[in-house]
Amino acid sequence: MADSRNRTFVAIAISLAALAVMVGALWPRGETVRTDAERVDHIASRMRCPFCSGESIADATAQVARDLEVVIEEQVAAGMTDDEIFAFFADRYGESLLLDPPLFGWGWALWVLPLAALGVGAFAVVRRRRNREEAEPIAAADSLEAARLRERLEYVARDRDEIAIQEARGEIDRGTAVALATTLDAEARALSAALEATDEAGYGAASGLVRNRRVWAGAGVLLVGAVAVAATLLLSADGSGEGGIVDAPPIDLASITTERLEEVVAANPDVIPMRLALGQMLMDEGEVARAAMQFGEVLQREDNPEAMAWLGWISFLAEQHDMAENFLVDALAIEPDYPQAQWWLANVRLLGLGDAAGAITPLEHLLESPGVPDDVRVAAEGMLERAREES
């Protein structure tokens, strides 16, 4: 942080110094007097050569252009003003000689139209932004509509994943990320419901509606149950002292549902092992983005190697290989004997970064550690062989 602030300071100092040099050199000193040659150039470049292909008198190579340039030179030498010279030529060869059309009646349109377009465009952009609170109309039931809903649902899912990544990287702050995620979840629910209604369209819209109601009823019951459990756990946690919930026997991680565990975690935000368990359950269910948020929460509370390793793996799945490697290396720095992290790091380096040599060390480390399951051992040996071949 301090480093970043220093660099900002240095960058601003350099910029100001350079700016001072530029302003000092370019600041207009007194009135600049145009030479006659400059005036001739200026005037000749603003009039069309009458018998050439749309080139200015200054640009055209034809003899006519040269003759006209001589006329301009004489008039400049005789002390005529620019406007007088333009008027002289316009009078003789017609107004169309002037490349910069005079601002009579229609002439204003030339300037006003683009400005008006700019205004309309800016207004449209701003309005677009203002209207974002409007509800999404979801209608029509046919195969194309279903395809549209599915595509939108994919976008929403991808947005969820990317928000988690962006938050982990610090591009989005936590509050915004949660707000965006909540909006997306609401949209995803609406889309899923609409999609279900579309799929059921063959049985009539009513059945879709009934089904929806059932889903909501089920969710409601689940929610009530979860709150009840959470309340009970909260009370028991108060009694169990420092160890918190994990020491409390009522929770069996094998049988609890994700939703219930989520409630529990929400009620006990600082119990790290619970969060880690929830994160792993979410990963098992394929809810990568939500899992990433849980692991991120853990990291905000402590430098937990397990959470780091999982975030590393999630980053790998999202093709963020550089970040994946950073997470895993950090995890191993805290806990060097961590076979899972060794295995993932080897995967990231070999498959993601194409760094076969770098994959060898973690694999060797992994094979040396005791208590590695046989199937993992076999896989690791296979990968080690491949890494040695490729490096």
């Binding site: 900002t8 932004r129 915004t176």
Partner: protein
């Protein structure tokens, strides 16, 4: 005989186009339709177009002057390469090439259509309609195989549409337009431009097909984004080569004159550039659906509008060498395209109304919107400036001209704003950007850009616009470089070699890095435009043989003159020795010359250019005889940077379609891998 073959080719291609239009539109909304017949139609259309182009080239190469086009645009003395290029250098031939490119693209699209892909089937229907127009025009008002029926004074005076048996042929053709046979670039510039123009038909057709089907997804963008990028790259290359040709041939020392026809190529380029950027937003976030449809319609319409301006002779310019019934035909087609596609859009607008909204204007999406606002404003302004004289003359009855001063004045501020957005945008995170994150990414490049500006000032640059462009250009390139270096550093920590890391990063997201390469090119082009126009020296000098004069910081010595008779022209020129300011150090021997073609009374002044690291010296004969000549002497600082920057832009465009993200990764857990934000950090 060859004329009959060529016309048959055109008619066959036209028939195939009709079949394709009918079948494609009929089957677009049929589930599981079989596209086999469409594929055959596309193949037949390509065959017909190849036959037509080949017949025209054979007629030109065998000097068959009984064909009016050959008699009017070639001669027996024309060198081989310009004979070949004559096949597309004039109006009718250029439309044959257009048809050939369109047929080739159509074949490539049709080859990959699978049964049941209604979107692509419908798109082929739309392409069929567009092709029908072009081949229809070739068969009627722009028939390249019209036979000469009457020769007056050695020139074909009358011709018949249908290849009749009795025909007359002049003994010698008129030869190509002198301006066009003066430089080899003329053989390359139009085909590149056409590849760009015609390529825009594909995204347009898919968009219209999606609208007709009521398909609101991004499938049409996914299917066509490579087409759009390839077409855009060729369009960029075409414009670049056009500028280069102008610089090397026209002798006025410039590469861009805001000529209406140059604008006609620039307008679709601007619209396509806006489309490429806003398509990213839709493919990534599902936003801007309606806007993308509007932009692709605008891009395609502007290509037709550009062709209309070029070919109708409505506007007097270097490019409009013809006047014919082609103009009204193109105008009618333009009307059908604009009204037709906007009507379809209006009928389907309720479907695209439910696009998701932006989370925050301070985000990548927000910068994309800003970029689109600027590019469309730019396009609109150029369009108004181009059309203004026509409109005023039509409705106001006064003749006015809108030229360089107007376009320079409006384009400079827009270009500055675009460069600024180009610097900040690519490192702004999606959704909501935290100011601190963006600041850290642009902080060092910002300081570097000010240092760059100060360095320019200390070097002696006193033009404020040039200094501003240098600051912005360094900023754009600096931000991209910092971003790349940051990513390479992370990978190097993982033990990769720098080059290896670079390849890995680019390979992982060629779309993004191709875009950034193009941005680097644009920044270089901007700097080159600023230096070569604001810091240029323009002067002239009159020299007699043996004279030496100091002009624009160089010493010029007139050493002699030469006259060369070539088969198709007479070349007269002078030998000018270029020395440094003190007339001591020899730099180069230059040969500015005037080429005299038999079909033109006025000679074509062909400049001599000496390109240096710091600046170009450009000599062009402006007048005089053998004893004393008037030379235009121009000095353009950093001119080479313009061509290099332009080529980098084109390379960036091609790089972005060069590779695909690798998908062959082994994932050992049953987890949904999210395709990702790999380029944000």
């Amino acid at each position: 005989m060859i004329a009959v073959v060529g016309l048959l080719g055109i008619l066959i291609a036209g028939g195939a186009a009709a079949v394709m239009a009918f079948d494609g539109l009929r089957l677009a909304r049929v589930e599981g339709a079989d596209p086999a017949r469409l594929r055959s139609a596309a193949a037949v259309m390509l065959l017909g177009a190849v036959v037509a182009m080949a017949a025209l080239e054979v007629a030109i190469l065998t000097h068959d002057f009984s064909i009016e086009y050959v008699a009017d645009n070639t001669a027996t003395t024309t060198p081989f390469i310009f004979l070949l290029a004559s096949g597309w250098a004039a109006l009718e031939g250029s439309i044959v090439l257009w048809g050939l490119v369109l047929a080739a693209f159509t074949y490539l699209v049709a080859r990959r259509v699978t049964p049941g892909n209604g979107l692509a089937v419908g798109a082929l229907g739309i392409i069929g309609l567009v092709s029908l127009f072009w081949f229809g025009m070739m068969a009627t008002v722009a028939n390249p195989f019209s036979l000469c029926t009457e020769v007056v004074g050695g020139v074909c005076a009358n011709s018949a549409w249908f290849p009749l048996a009795s025909s007359a042929a002049p003994a010698e053709g008129l030869g190509p337009n002198p301006l066009l046979q003066n430089h080899i670039l003329m053989a390359v510039h139009p085909p590149m431009l056409y590849l760009g123009y015609v390529g825009m038909t594909v995204p347009f057709a898919f968009a219209v097909s999606a609208m007709i089907r009521g398909d609101q997804g991004k499938a049409w963008l996914d299917r066509t984004h490579r087409w759009t990028l390839v077409a855009w790259s060729f369009l960029t290359l075409g414009i670049l080569l056009g500028g280069w040709w102008s610089y090397e041939v026209l002798g006025w020392g410039g590469y861009w004159a805001w000529d209406p026809v140059e604008n006609a190529a620039f307008l679709p380029w601007l619209a396509a550039t806006a489309f490429i950027h806003s398509a990213v937003v839709q493919r990534r976030r599902g936003m801007l659906q309606a806007w993308n449809l509007i932009l692709v319609i605008a891009t395609f319409s502007l290509t037709i509008f550009g062709t209309f301006l070029t070919r109708s002779g409505t506007i007097f310019s270097v490019h409009s060498f013809t006047q014919s019934a082609v103009g009204p035909a193109l105008l009618g087609f333009l009307g059908v395209v604009v009204i037709g596609s906007l009507t379809v859009f209006a009928l389907r607008s309720h479907l695209v109304a439910s696009a998701p909204r932006l989370e925050s204007l301070a985000s990548r999406e927000g910068v994309f919107l800003f970029n689109n606002l600027l590019l469309t404003l730019f396009a609109f302004t150029v369009l108004v400036g181009t059309m203004y004289p026509l409109l005023v003359e039509a409705f106001g009855g006064r003749e006015v001209t809108v030229g360089r001063p107007f376009f320079d004045r409006v384009s400079i501020p827009i270009a500055f704003a675009l460069l600024l957005a180009m610097g900040i945008g690519p490192v702004t995170p999606y959704r909501v950007a935290r100011a601190r994150v963006v600041w850290e990414r642009i902080r060092d490049p910002l300081a570097a850009s000010f240092v760059g500006g100060a360095a320019a000032v200390l070097y002696g640059v006193r033009s404020i616009p040039v200094v501003i462009v240098v600051v912005l250009g360094v900023f754009v390139i600096g931000v991209i470089a910092r971003h790349l270096v940051a990513q390479i550093t992370v990978r190097r920590k993982a033990g990769e070699k720098p080059v290896e890391a670079l390849f890995g990063i680019v390979q992982r997201d060629p779309g993004y890095w191709g875009g950034q390469l193009a941005h680097v090119g644009v920044a270089l082009v901007a700097v080159a435009i600023a230096t070569s126009s604001a810091l240029a020296f323009r002067g002239d000098v009159t020299l007699q043989q043996g004279d030496t004069a100091v002009v624009g910081g160089y010493c010029l010595s007139y050493e002699g003159s030469f006259r060369r008779v070539e088969p198709n022209r007479v070349v007269e020129g002078v030998d000018i020795r270029l020395l440094d300011e003190d007339c001591t150090r020899d730099i180069a021997l230059m040969h500015p010359r005037v080429n005299q073609y038999p079909n033109s009374t006025q000679g074509i002044a062909t400049p001599a250019v000496r390109t240096g690291v710091v600046e170009d010296v450009y000599l062009s004969i402006a007048g005089g005889g053998a004893d004393a000549i008037v030379l235009d002497v121009f000095v353009f600082p950093l001119m080479w940077l313009l061509w290099l920057g332009g080529l980098i832009v084109v390379a960036g465009g091609f790089l972005s379609v060069a590779g695909r993200r690798r998908k062959d990764r082994i994932v050992s857990a049953p987890v949904r891998a999210s395709a990702g934000a790999s380029t944000d950090g």
